[in-house]
Amino acid sequence: MSQTLDPRAAAHVSEVAVSVELQTPGMTINLGPQHPSTHGVLRLVAELDGERVVNVEPVIGYMHRGYEKLSEVRTYPQITALVNRIDWVSGFANEIPLMVAVERLMEIEVPARAQAIRLILTELARISNHLVFLSSYPLELGASTPLMHALREREHVLELIEGVTGGRFHPNFNRIGGVKPAAGGGSTQKKLAQDLPQGFLSETAAAMDRMLAICDDMDTLVTGNEIFQARTKGVAVVPPDLALAYGVSGPNLRASGVAFDLREHEDYLPYDKYEFDVVTGENGDCFDRYQVRLEEVRQAARIVSQAIADVPSGPLQAKVPRVIKVPKGETYVRAENPKGEMGYYIVSDGGRIPYRLKIRSASFSNLSILPWALKGLLVPDIIALLGSLDFVLGDVDR
């Protein structure tokens, strides 16, 4: 125990020895951690032959925050505040599987209104996440204007999320048994429950129209662009069987032609009430991964439009104990996050703190395909593939 208290343990020394042969005749180049296209601090050590990748070794861990360890000293409500920082571009969606897992263990039934609000906000988070992708992906390929156009529209979504939850990125709005309750009991501010603010439904409806419009703009600006197509079509094809074996999930998996969407199969949120299509690609190339996400924005807007048309009334919170103790047991709940399968494996021993919380994040598995997928590509294709995987380093390293 004492030898682990070495101060170096806390510091991250940058010289991670990398398992590549240094004496190769070709060029070995670092892409990252401080590189414009690695979405944060990912490092790729690429062996190049000219501009062709011979071998690549991703180095991760620069964003490792040890959430699984931190969760072992935090109560379940406190963990909620942590998990929406895992994948910060879709913070709200990260909370859902944890909440559902705890509720499942505690056998709490969430009121219909809370479920509907959760669903609406999850889909808004999905739109926001995909808009970040739609903005950054063309940027990786050299077009910076779609970035601004998509971010301009994302602002409307973030405002909606903020209007309800108070946080743009880190909503921390879910509570075990429902959504954020009225806090305290005295003053005017707190007397009111944190229900949807007035005007939310009409603003959301308007925002969804804008989302459909920006999707059309993206079609004009990006999808239809021949250079974009030339850069992405047939590039970095991920075959479906390989994607499954690597645990690639979400839009990346669907782009490879596997029509697997947890929203259809799992019942963590009442998606069965709404109509939507599971979008799949055909070839599993970068273009399909882009196209699937673009189409998913439309589908998400469709779900939200249906959901806001009929939000059930009722309480926002199930009856939960004041001090949350989770009964002894294990469960795994996964959800279709914008980036793929996000799940929490909770091992509870009956206390207020989880004995073990395994966070299964989508980006980690999605990224693990890199060494395989990057072989034989050109340097510009590295960027095309990296961008199309839509990962966030916080989601990779946790």
Binding site: Q78, P197, L221
Partner: protein, 152 residues
């Protein structure tokens, strides 16, 4: 399928149209956006309501609230009543450099002493300046807005 090269020019038409639209930029220091009433900007403290129960400091996931208090004797409210003790707040600091704006403290406060204010202009040049004391937290109390009306 469209003709080859057509997509390039459709995109150019779109950017040209955007060129003549008014940008949605808010010119920040001169113009200001009004955050939504629920926005979690900063935590305001009502020191009168605080009973030094330590609940917020204990529930804080980041351990960023520092509270000290002492007990004071109060004269009985009724003639001949018993002398009551009352906890008085001496120190209430929130380290905003550590705070992750989860709002657990505001929620758990049983006496309504903590409030969210959408105020956001409190950046500091030094990280130590982010430790806000009781006085500063109390000053924010007047920026706390009324809660928004709810959707029916």
């Amino acid at each position: 399928m469209q003709a080859r090269g057509q997509g390039l020019f459709k995109g150019m038409w779109l950017t040209l149209k955007t060129l003549f639209q008014k940008p949605p930029t808010v010119m920040y220091p001169t113009e200001k956006e009004t955050p939504v009433p629920r926005a979690r900007g900063v935590i305001a403290l009502d020191p009168e309501a605080c009973t030094v129960c330590m609940l917020c400091a204990r529930e804080c996931p980041d351990w960023c609230i520092y509270i000290e208090g002492h007990k004071e004797e109060q004269p009985p409210s009724k003639e001949g009543g018993r002398v009551r003790t009352r906890a008085t707040l001496d120190r209430f600091d929130i380290d905003y450099a550590l705070c992750m704006y989860c709002g657990i403290c505001v929620e758990v406060c049983p006496f309504d002493a903590l409030f969210w204010s959408p105020e956001y202009e409190y950046s500091e040049m030094k990280i130590s300046g982010m430790l806000h004391d009781k006085g500063r937290l109390t000053d924010w109390l007047e920026t706390v807005p009324d809660p928004p009306a709810l959707e029916a």
